[in-house]
């Protein structure tokens, strides 16, 4: 097993892809936390804990869930809205949950507005501008997700979570695989259950 761990950065001028450092993706029913394979149950709790501790916990929904291009996508979008509402209910007044879409992967000219969207090719602008210290990617195509997750790890201290509909992402600090409406709802339930058990840090990001 690799000694490398996928941790919040800033890691390096050009950090490696975690897969190239020997990090392997989880099998069905599993997740990974910091690159170590873990039971999915443990990952729900750790993801919820990270959200509840963050100053600016943020959900980044991608094109696969934003455009209601099939029934499943529409249901996922509803579940993500529920997750966001749950998050807002469970955090303290000093915390500022955000829901910022990644509507597509097209170049953003002349410049992106980091308060309304995130650019997968330059995600750090949105992370830095909004002082986001914990985020989750849902519904982002795998290649674009890995690209963004690695850039975030390279240049920010943001804790990254991926809810991937396929095999998961090593470049996130925590990754679920085979994302479904049930899994999104279960994460919301876990956040609700752990409400009040962890505190956000006193200092700002």
């Amino acid at each position: 097993m690799s000694d490398y761990r996928v941790l919040p950065g800033p890691e390096h001028f050009l950090p490696p892809a975690a897969a190239s450092m020997g990090i392997r993706l989880p099998n069905p029913g599993e997740a990974h936390i910091n690159g170590v394979i873990a039971p999915e149950e443990k990952a729900y709790e750790e993801a919820a804990r990270q959200f509840l501790m963050a100053k600016v916990p943020t959900i980044f929904p991608g094109p696969l869930v934003l455009w209601a291009w099939n029934e499943k996508a529409a249901k996922k979008a509803t579940a993500i809205r529920h997750l966001f509402n749950t998050l807002k209910e469970c955090v303290q007044a000093t915390q500022k949950p955000m829901l910022i879409p990644m509507p597509d992967y097209r170049p953003k000219y002349p410049k992106i507005n980091p308060e309304v969207e995130i650019n997968p090719n330059h995600p750090n602008l949105t992370i830095w501008h909004n002082k986001i210290d914990c985020c989750i990617f849902i519904g982002v195509h795998c290649h674009q997700a890995n690209l963004s997750l690695k850039i975030i790890r390279g240049g920010t201290s943001c804790y990254t979570i991926a809810m991937c509909a396929q095999a998961g992402h090593e470049d996130a600090m925590l990754s679920f695989r085979d994302a479904s409406v049930d899994k999104i709802m279960r994460l919301a339930e876990t956040i609700k259950r752990l409400k009040g058990t962890v505190q956000p840090p006193l200092s700002t990001v």
């Binding site: 170049p107 090719n121 750090n124 674009q144 690695k150 850039i151 396929q166 095999a167």
Partner: protein, 403 residues
């Protein structure tokens, strides 16, 4: 996955049943058949649920492209046409794959080199095209005979590169190759190579899966990048975006894009091990003398081992099945007891020996050879001779009879 599973057991327009790939490859009855390698390629593609095959059927490389034209006429392939050149073929393959098709093509030798610009583009665009490379000479004066030098050029394209030893490997790996390369965490093109002529033009007994079973169709919605459409055409990624700005993040994004391609090659390791039963095969790994080879050099190495055993020399074998992903740990483990490692190759530069030297400790154990090229055969006796010479044993020249 749910969509792919739901189609299992249904039939395509030719009456073939979409079959769970593991069952088809490992549990279904096999029929021994006496075929050339080119015919085997045709039979594999008959079962591969291919949407598009694009050909530049210059006949010496193999007859496969023409034979697959027959499959199109029979209705087994969605579309089939001939490109203006090898470069055009590979570009057209990209177009079909961008649109969500399962794509197949063949090439060899100078054709591979002419089309080379496309291969890193395929990998960068995460297109799981399968390309058969029936290797032959690439340099001038031209040769239509086997020579594996072109594989060296493919190793850094970001494609998966597998090297088949036999026609049986070829049949099985064409079908398994689609499954590995279409995994969403991999989703890369596959260059499935063999030594031209030796495999393509000779006949062998190959155990075929039932012709009425076929692979589940490709599901482009599992792709790690969006399918091409008018809102998100590939040109927006290739021309407009981050790479056209001169700043740190533009360069870092392109660098990260490249890293992601090679991360996907790494991810293919798990799937390749599952489907190919390991990235290497081994024999006698406790021996102090090892032959490490890929392609038909493995067959010649196996025969050399038998000849050496007759003389009381014990020798082991490593058959390298995948060159990308590279089986670094496996080769290191398999050769840990070896004092001498011989790498017979059908090319002049010895690229496989270089890869192995970069992989193992104490690489002065590696004897890069014997080499033949330009279509020469590699009699097992010259491998035996190379080994005996290195061991200080008496051996005879195989070059000729003298004056």
């Amino acid at each position: 996955m749910a969509e792919a599973k739901s189609i299992i057991g249904t039939q395509n327009k030719k009456g073939q049943t979409y079959t769970d790939t593991w069952k088809m490859m490992n549990e279904a009855p096999r029929t021994p058949s006496f075929y050339t390698g080119s015919e085997v390629i045709k039979e594999a593609i008959r079962r591969a649920s291919c949407d598009v095959m694009i050909a530049y059927p210059i006949t010496p490389q193999s007859e496969a492209a023409a034979l697959i034209g027959e499959l199109f006429a029979e209705g087994y392939i969605g579309d089939y046409f001939r490109g203006e050149s090898e470069f055009a073929v590979m570009s057209q393959c990209a177009g079909a794959a961008f649109g969500g098709a399962r794509v197949f093509t063949t090439t060899a030798g100078p054709g591979t080199m002419r089309a080379m610009e496309n291969f890193p583009m395929w990998a960068g665009a995460r297109l799981p095209i399968q390309m058969i490379v029936t290797c032959r000479g690439i340099n001038s004066p031209l040769s239509i005979q086997p020579d594996t030098l072109e594989i060296a050029y493919l190793l850094n394209t970001g494609m998966l590169v597998w090297h088949a030893e036999t026609a049986q490997d070829f049949f099985d790996w064409i079908l398994k190759g689609y499954i590995v390369s279409e995994e969403p965490d991999v989703h890369l093109p596959l260059a499935l190579c063999c030594d031209g002529f030796f495999v393509t033009h000779t006949k062998d007994v190959v155990n075929l899966t039932p012709a009425d079973m076929c692979l589940p169709p490709y599901d482009p919605y599992r792709s790690p990048v969006p399918c091409m459409d008018m809102e998100c055409p590939p040109v927006r990624m290739m021309r407009d975006p981050f790479v056209m700005k001169s700043n740190y993040i533009s360069y870092a994004t392109h660098a990260s894009w490249q890293q992601e391609i090679w991360a996907a090659v790494e991810r293919s390791r798990k799937h390749s091990i599952h489907w190919l039963n390991g990235l290497i095969d081994t024999e006698n790994t406790d021996a102090e003398i090892m032959i490490v080879a890929s392609g038909t050099a493995v067959s010649q190495g196996r025969e050399a081992i038998r000849l050496l055993e007759d003389e009381g020399v014990r020798c082991g074998l490593v058959k390298v099945k995948t060159l990308r992903p590279w089986p670094e740990e496996e080769i290191r483990e398999a050769t840990k007891n070896a004092k001498h490692i011989f790498v017979p190759e059908f090319n002049v530069t010895g690229w496989l020996a270089r890869e192995i030297k970069a992989t193992i400790p104490n690489h002065d154990r590696v004897h890069a050879g014997p080499h033949v090229c330009g279509g020469m055969t590699m009699p097992p006796e010259i491998i035996v001779s190379e080994i005996k010479t290195a061991l200080g044993m008496k051996t005879f020249s195989l070059a000729g009879r003298g004056s």
